[in-house]
């Protein structure tokens, strides 16, 4: 049966959760000598860690400013990226357009007439007045007369 606990035992009790070391805690409740030893140990260990973070307010302010500067930098990075991408796209687009514009029209001679003919075939030239075309020009006077008759009728000249 253990009479008293050593400091090493108490150290273990201190670091592990004291409530878990029931035999030790029960002993401490009964033994004043061990209890004072534990109290002293606790005080000393706390003393080791105390006052380590007593920093002046200027330290925390400087740290905050530093953090916010970096955060601000992070925030502006995507904007800068988008801007850079847009500028690059514009430059590339401009370059391609300029290249195309400065390129001389160099269609092969053999294909020129073929293409033109095909275009003429597909899109026959239309005059502004269809009645002037080759197919309809013979009917044009008839149409003109009918239009004239119709106009006379519409004008209300029934005399």
């Amino acid at each position: 049966m253990k009479q008293h606990y050593s400091e090493a035992d108490l150290l273990e009790t201190y670091y592990t959760q004291p409530g878990d070391s029931m035999p030790v805690m029960m002993h401490l409740a009964e033994c004043g000598e061990c209890a004072s030893r534990y109290e002293r140990l606790e005080k000393k260990v706390r003393g080791l860690t105390a006052c380590e973070h007593e920093k002046p307010e200027t330290f925390w302010a400087r740290q905050r400013i530093s953090i916010m500067r970096r955060v601000e930098g992070r925030r502006s990075v995507p904007v800068m990226r988008y801007a850079a991408a847009a500028v690059l796209t514009l430059m590339l687009g401009g370059l391609v357009t300029w290249k195309e514009a400065s390129k001389p029209p160099s269609l092969p001679a053999s294909e020129g007439p073929t293409v033109t003919a095909a275009m003429e075939y597909e899109q026959p030239s239309m005059s502004s007045d269809p009645w002037q075309s080759e197919e309809l020009k013979d009917y044009q006077p008839v149409v003109a007369w009918e239009s004239w008759v119709d106009a006379e009728t519409k004008s209300g000249d029934h005399s």
Binding site: A8, L48, R64
Partner: protein, 206 residues
């Protein structure tokens, strides 16, 4: 650059409100988040890396990383827990980097060993800080694995419960307890070694 207002004494918005406002583009809201948690995050970082400059860097990196991924924060845990988890991961990265660098330089803990002499001269400050106990802890820490070191330091310096440590590290409480036991046994061995050199437990604890 926008000027950030860091204090808003008139109201105390919730973390969720601050997150929503930050996501909507309100830089002041994130400033408030930083102000609310920077001390806590610094403490956790310092507990693990044991270096002020490095802890400052870890704290800053934590908040920048959190800002970048804020939209992904689901709110399943507290914002503080989420930030602490990021800080712990960052601190572990810092420890790994330090270990890697130490392969090419002198021992990383050389500086620490300089503050561990057993000094019999009356020195109230040293008595208050309990140099022997501190030295034993520092010596023991050198023997710990990376995981044990993080767990022990969070328990020792931050006084986090086993459940809190488990939550932050994504481990089971039993695993954390096992790691902690191993770490404490190493501290005990270091104290015993010091005792065998003529010291006494009481001296170490006074």
């Amino acid at each position: 650059m926008a000027a950030f207002r860091l204090n808003d004494p008139g109201s105390a918005p919730t973390d969720r409100e601050l997150i929503d406002r930050t996501l909507a583009g309100d830089g002041n809201a994130y400033g408030t988040i930083v102000e609310r948690f920077q001390r806590r995050i610094y403490r956790v970082a310092f507990a693990i890396v044991r270096d002020e400059v490095e802890a400052d860097t870890v704290t800053q990196d934590t908040f920048v990383q959190a800002y970048t991924h804020l939209a992904r924060f689901q709110g399943r845990s507290e914002l503080e827990t989420w930030l602490t988890r990021i800080a712990i991961n960052r601190s572990r990265d810092a420890l790994r980097r330090r270990k890697f660098v130490s392969l090419f330089t002198r021992d990383e803990d050389d500086v620490e060993t300089m503050i561990e002499p057993v000094d019999d001269r009356p020195d109230p400050e040293r008595q208050i800080l309990s140099v022997q106990l501190r030295a034993a802890i520092l010596r023991a820490e050198k023997l710990l694995s990376s995981q044990q070191k993080v767990i022990f330091r969070l328990r020792h310096y931050e006084n986090l419960s086993l459940e809190e440590i488990a939550e932050h590290l994504g481990l089971r409480a039993g695993t954390v307890r096992a790691h902690l036991f191993r770490a404490i046994h190493k501290v005990r061995r270091e104290l015993a070694a010091w005792r065998s050199q003529g010291g006494s437990d009481e001296a170490a604890l006074q």
